[in-house]
């Protein structure tokens, strides 16, 4: 809790340094942190891997963008509406996906995500197709990088707090039980399928929030944001950070995002770097950076 407040405080001081580049990096890193955290509700807490989480990110982003720009809604309506829409779509897709388990579940999430991508691609009149939806009307109040940064910081912090409450609630504990032993959990009276459905919906809702923030920040949404590569990336963020801890995804998002920005300055082969990172995680670091830190700490304590 204290660490969280300190981090928020430090971040709040960032714009005072006046470095535009740092503000931009921090804004986008925060958005990805929320996105990764939302996915971990599904992966870390419930134990269900989704390969199509970008779909809800994209829906949140596009919906907010379209409502703001095409329909001229005020932000105070567009943002919640976009988040709710992402949640609704997650609920609908989740309904189908939770009837299956494990790999089948994962594949189905991917298939649905590509469906969302396909719709975004084809529905040119509404989404702009592969040209993207550009020129998003962000309210004047948030037009400057610093002010948008504070807005993002506030929204992401609120999201993190809410997710923290949810993940540590009775609901969250039961999700962990579902992950740890779903047969046992059925036999203490829990409808495990409904729990997984709820987790899916919660995850999609917060991803939608991240997406809305993302779209407004970039003043545009592009179909790449719904492509499987975006889903792969956020998945790797969660795994890199460590899926069994709450803060893992936050760490993983920050590290991976900064790594990507850095790599893209030198080479076009970021996918290779990403692939190698994933290989390392799979072969050596399944519990991510947080897991690594814990293991090192344990070894130091023993020494």
């Amino acid at each position: 809790m204290l660490a969280f407040l300190v981090a928020i405080l430090l971040l709040a001081l960032l714009p005072l340094a006046g470095n535009r580049y740092a503000i931009d990096l921090a804004t986008e890193a925060l958005i990805y942190a929320l996105f990764a955290l939302s996915l971990n509700v599904l992966i870390g807490f419930t134990g269900n891997i989704s390969f199509g989480h970008a779909a809800y990110f994209a829906i949140g982003g596009y919906a907010c963008a379209i409502l703001l720009t095409t329909y001229g809604w005020p932000l105070v309506l567009s943002l919640p509406a976009a988040v709710v829409l992402a949640g609704i779509v997650a609920a609908v897709v989740g309904y189908f996906c939770v009837r299956l388990t494990q790999i089948y579940f994962a594949m189905l999430t991917l298939a649905f995500a590509m469906l969302v991508w396909g719709v975004a691609f084809k529905w040119k009149e509404v989404t702009g197709g592969d040209d993207g939806f550009t020129g998003i009307k962000v309210p004047d109040l948030l037009a400057s990088p610093a002010s948008y940064f504070y807005f993002t910081l506030a929204m992401v912090a609120a999201g993190i707090v809410l997710l923290w409450i949810i993940c540590h609630s009775a609901f969250g504990l039961t999700l962990v039980a579902v992950r740890e032993n779903s047969v046992r959990t059925g036999f203490i009276g829990v409808d495990t399928r409904r729990m997984r459905w709820a987790a899916f919906t919660v995850a999609g809702t917060f991803a939608g929030l991240a997406g809305a923030l993302f779209g407004m920040y970039h003043r545009g949404m592009y179909i790449e944001n719904a492509y499987w590569t975006e889903s792969a990336q956020v998945l790797i963020m969660v795994l890199l950070g460590g899926m069994y801890s709450f803060v893992g995804p936050l760490l993983g998002a920050a590290v991976l995002y900064l790594l990507q920005v850095f790599t893209n300055q030198y080479t076009i082969y970021w996918p290779t770097v990403l692939g190698l990172i994933l290989l390392v995680i799979v072969l050596v670091l399944p519990d991510g950076l947080v897991g690594l830190v814990e293991r090192v700490k344990a070894r130091l304590v023993r020494a």
Binding site: I165, I166, H168, S169, A170, F171, G172, L173, T174, V176, A177, E180, N181, V183, R184, T185, G186, F187, I188, G189, V190, D191, T192, M195, A198, V202
Partner: protein
Amino acid sequence: MSTMLHIQGLWKSFAGFVATRDVSFELEAGRTHAVIGPNGAGKTTFFNLITGHLRPDKGKVAFEGRDLIGLPPQKIVRLGIARSFQRINIYPRLTVFENVQVALIAHEHQQWNLFRPGRSLHRQETGELLELVGLAAEAAEIGGELSYGKQKQLELAIALASKPRLLLLDEPTAGMSPQETAETIASVRDIVKARGLTLLFTEHDMSVVFGIAERISVLHHGEIIASGTPDAVRNDAEVKRVYLGEQVNA
């Protein structure tokens, strides 16, 4: 005494192998009833058919008048039946405390509460249950690291957390030393008496059974070959043939 569990003409086959053969069975409320039989007799299958893990091919299972067939396990628990599993089925990576706490949370339908912190709920009751099964000292330990006997105790605690009226224990003393067996059985008997539970358990250790069961049914190759008071069963010719015959061949 009323009939708590009414089973009639239960059949179950697995690809041609008949695991449960025309089993009929009545369990009176408040009784302690044992189902015994050698390994492979179909005891666990029988339990699985009652608790919704398996669907019978034919037959009827009714609990307090309600038909159980087709209900998923979580609905069956809510009706008042809890069970332990023959192969340990706890949460190995959660602490002993959390193992029981989660069951209590679920029992109170609080798994849908997105806001109250999980760790703070039902702490007292969890402590009491752990005390009851003798695991109070191990509350902070990881479930999977307990000794086998203690894990079985944990299974019992989890089952009790669902506040059942009917308790099904699948081989509660399997793999235990004679000492542990005696302790477990004594503990179970006390708990059952104190809470007025109906107990249905399976065993293949005969001495255990004769100590606490008020009624015994003998399962052999999926069929019930004898059912009645311990004395009646002990003296049953068929039972003697099956058990003595098996012992001679063993």
